[in-house]
């Protein structure tokens, strides 16, 4: 059998049929060059194998979440809507027309249409679609003290 480094690699990977295995092993054991090659590659692969697996850094998932849905422009609009919505609600509450239990459907409709007029018709439906993610965004903004 001739010296064959590919074969030694296969041997190391356990990818050699059992009937060939003993012949390759015998060659490695009796050939100084191949023996050295085998031991060095085996050492290198074991060093790499034992290097350990570090834990991923914290906070990446939160950043991923923030990145995948509402983009910056949307965030800004959401924040603006929140603030403006609060102002409007406060105004309506102060002037005594606001019904806190939401029983007045006409009034609710009025508030919604006012919001739509102020911030564009798309926003409310966008808010509904993104409701879940939107809440996360608010949590993030609150956490960062931006709201």
């Amino acid at each position: 059998m001739k010296c064959d480094r590919n074969l030694i690699n296969k041997f190391l990977d356990g990818e050699i049929s059992s009937n060939r295995k003993s012949r390759v092993k015998e060659h490695i054991e009796n050939c100084a060059q191949c023996c050295r090659y085998y031991n060095e590659i085996a050492k290198i692969t074991s060093v790499l194998r034992d290097a350990g697996k570090p834990n991923p850094p914290a906070g990446v998932f939160l950043r991923v979440k923030r990145n995948i849905t509402p983009h910056k422009a949307f965030l800004l609009r959401a924040r603006f809507a929140l603030t403006a919505g609060a102002v409007l609600t406060l105004f309506l509450a102060v002037t005594g027309v606001f019904s806190p239990n939401g029983a007045n459907a006409e009034l609710d409709y009025y508030i919604e249409s006012q919001l739509d007029a102020l911030f564009g018709e798309g926003l409310r439906s966008e808010l509904t679609v993104y409701e879940q993610n939107w809440q996360t965004q608010i949590e993030i903004l609150l956490e960062e003290g931006e709201l």
């Binding site: 480094r5 590919n6 690699n9 990977d13 990818e15 090659y37 060095e40 590659i41 050492k43 290198i44 692969t45 060093v47 790499l48 194998r49 034992d50 290097a51 350990g52 697996k53 570090p54 834990n55 991923p56 850094p57 990446v60 998932f61 950043r63 991923v64 979440k65 990145n67 995948i68 849905t69 879940q132 993610n133 996360t136």
Partner: protein
């Protein structure tokens, strides 16, 4: 285990399902990214970018391949592209001189050595070695993840081992 329903939920924006997928695969992505980039900051960018892509594209995942292979493929692509981009931007060169300059008995036990060995390879070969030796993936899995043929994966891994051996010999 990530189920088909987890995937569908995550694709429709369910955060719990997304987090489950993240928890399940982030260790792999981080290990491969960190050891291929050999730089924590670049690796962290890679980790983030991989999962942004995963969740953005999950809706178009059609179960033709396993989620695992699909995520592995995104990992390989994203990591290698990020290294290229980073190299172009600031000439990120890996310091392999230490390996050759050091004299005396080689200390192959340390973590440092694994890094140095990896540092002798191109990122394209390094990522294959990381998947094979550090993640213990089969050649078949590596081929699927890197869109290479089985035989070329083997050839490149054997050659990369040879390259690391030569560098180790020269110390």
């Amino acid at each position: 285990m990530i189920t088909k329903s987890d995937i569908k939920k995550a694709a429709s924006g369910d955060e719990a399902a997304m987090e489950k997928i993240y928890q399940y695969y982030s260790a792999f992505v981080w290990n491969v990214a960190l050891k291929t980039c050999l730089n924590r900051d670049v690796a962290a960018d890679a980790l983030q970018e991989v999962f942004i892509k995963v969740f953005k594209k999950l809706g178009s995942f059609r179960f033709y391949s396993s989620l695992k292979t699909w995520i592995y493929r995104i990992t390989v692509n994203t990591t290698l592209n990020l290294i290229k981009k980073e190299k172009r931007r600031e000439g990120l060169e890996l310091d392999c001189t230490r390996l050759k300059a050091r004299s005396g008995e080689p200390d192959l036990e340390s973590k440092q050595t694994a890094q140095e060995l990896l540092g002798t390879l191109d990122p394209e070969d390094r990522i294959l070695i990381v998947m094979r030796e550090m993640e213990g993936m089969s050649y078949k899995e590596i081929a699927a993840s890197s869109k290479m043929t089985l035989s070329s994966v083997k050839t490149r891994i054997y050659r990369a081992r040879e390259k690391m051996r030569t560098a180790y010999d020269k110390r």
